[in-house]
Subunit: 234 residues, 2 copies
């Protein structure tokens, strides 16, 4: 009984964290958490995973970005619009947005996928980002989805055909392009009091190169480490 | 002066025909015909052609079909949804819908493109269909576009992964698959009074085979001829 109570309490805390994060992310508390839980669930974790919502969300994102470009670049021919479009909806950019929003802390992965680094994979984060957009569209409609995407993608739309990449995405692409293992991040040190921690993170690409950096969150330290390693790699 | 008056009258008749057809097609008279004229204009005819609207309409159609499948096939996994999706948004199906709606009579093609058979090309008709959906979405919004697409695509969504094809699309694909020239249609005879004409059309695929059929419109006779030729070809 004690244990069952503890599990229920744990599940309650997870759901309340999720509701809080979704309210912050979408600007409104979702009526039902279930579709969002599903959007955050990888195939390795459950059959009720994000894949169907990603199928839908991919097209929601596509329309919103296409319309945005159509309006913003009234002088562009179709070829130029398509180039911009592809740069904005690519997995790396979706993953970049997902990282900014803190999607990673809410992912539900199976053990194997977690061990394989899925929680920082551009593929997984990008897919989940699209699935979340699909869930939000189902709940709130196109206007709300459009507002969300325009805010989350922000200046990327003006940044020209080649969207600026998050250093972690960039490093991951570098490793893939050079046939190296995906980057691995590990915590070297955690210091400071609970309310003001400092993290030191090391990132390495196989045995090729390593860099270390500090930050006030893991995410910040990882980003700084990826940036430092990219500079080393030229 | 007489000639200029005649040209203006001609243009007036074309626009009034277009307005009539659009009202029938979309169930409401468009406020401004210009975007629809553009959606019907091939690159061979003017720089203000359908390409930008097609870029947008492609994504409008994509979202509407994806959402429709998501709702209709609640038990399908993502892979099955994608297969159905690809079968429904392919150029041949868009062209099929365009033929049913009579898009062909309103196309604006340059002379060369007309001589090349663009007015019955799956590519051109499919692109124009998407551009029209883009124009209608811009004017009337997603709900109206969804109503239009669900009506125009109709039973195709339930027809399984392989959508039934219009005989003319089917014949065109057959010719391409067998490395033959595209089908050519020619009027053999036109009889009957103006209000009740009868057309006899012959269709051939290179020098390989030919079939002839009758109908009360060119379109009807061509469809019957394509069907007859497909039967001959086995």
């Amino acid at each position: 009984m004690v244990q069952r109570g503890a599990v229920a309490e744990d599940r309650g805390r997870v759901l309340s964290d999720l509701a809080h994060w979704l309210t912050e992310t979408f600007g409104r508390r979702p009526a039902d958490l279930a579709p969002y839980e599903r959007a955050l669930t990888h195939g390795s974790q459950a059959a009720a995973n994000y894949e169907r919502l990603e199928f839908l969300g991919d097209r929601v994102l596509g329309l919103i970005v296409a319309e945005w470009l159509y309006e913003t670049f009234a002088g562009d021919a179709e070829g130029q619009l398509s180039k911009r479009f592809n740069a904005l909806v690519t997995g790396a950019v979706c993953a970049d947005v997902a990282r900014e929003l803190g999607v990673r802390d809410h992912l539900k992965l199976g053990k194997q996928a977690r061990d394989d680094g899925a929680s920082d994979s551009d593929n997984v984060l990008g897919d989940v980002m699209e699935a979340l957009i699909g869930a939000w569209y189902r709940e709130a409609g196109l206007d709300a989805a459009r507002m969300f995407v325009r805010q989350a993608w922000g200046d990327r739309v003006k940044a020209g055909a080649k969207a600026p990449q998050h250093p972690k995405s960039q490093l991951q692409e570098w490793a893939a392009a050079h046939n190296r293992k995906p980057p691995e991040y590990r915590i070297v040190e955690r210091t400071g009091p609970g309310h003001a921690p400092r993290f030191t993170i090391a990132v390495s690409v196989g045995k090729l190169a390593e860099a270390t950096a500090e930050g006030t969150s893991k995410q910040e330290a990882e980003t700084a480490a990826a940036k430092a390693l990219l500079e080393k790699l030229g």
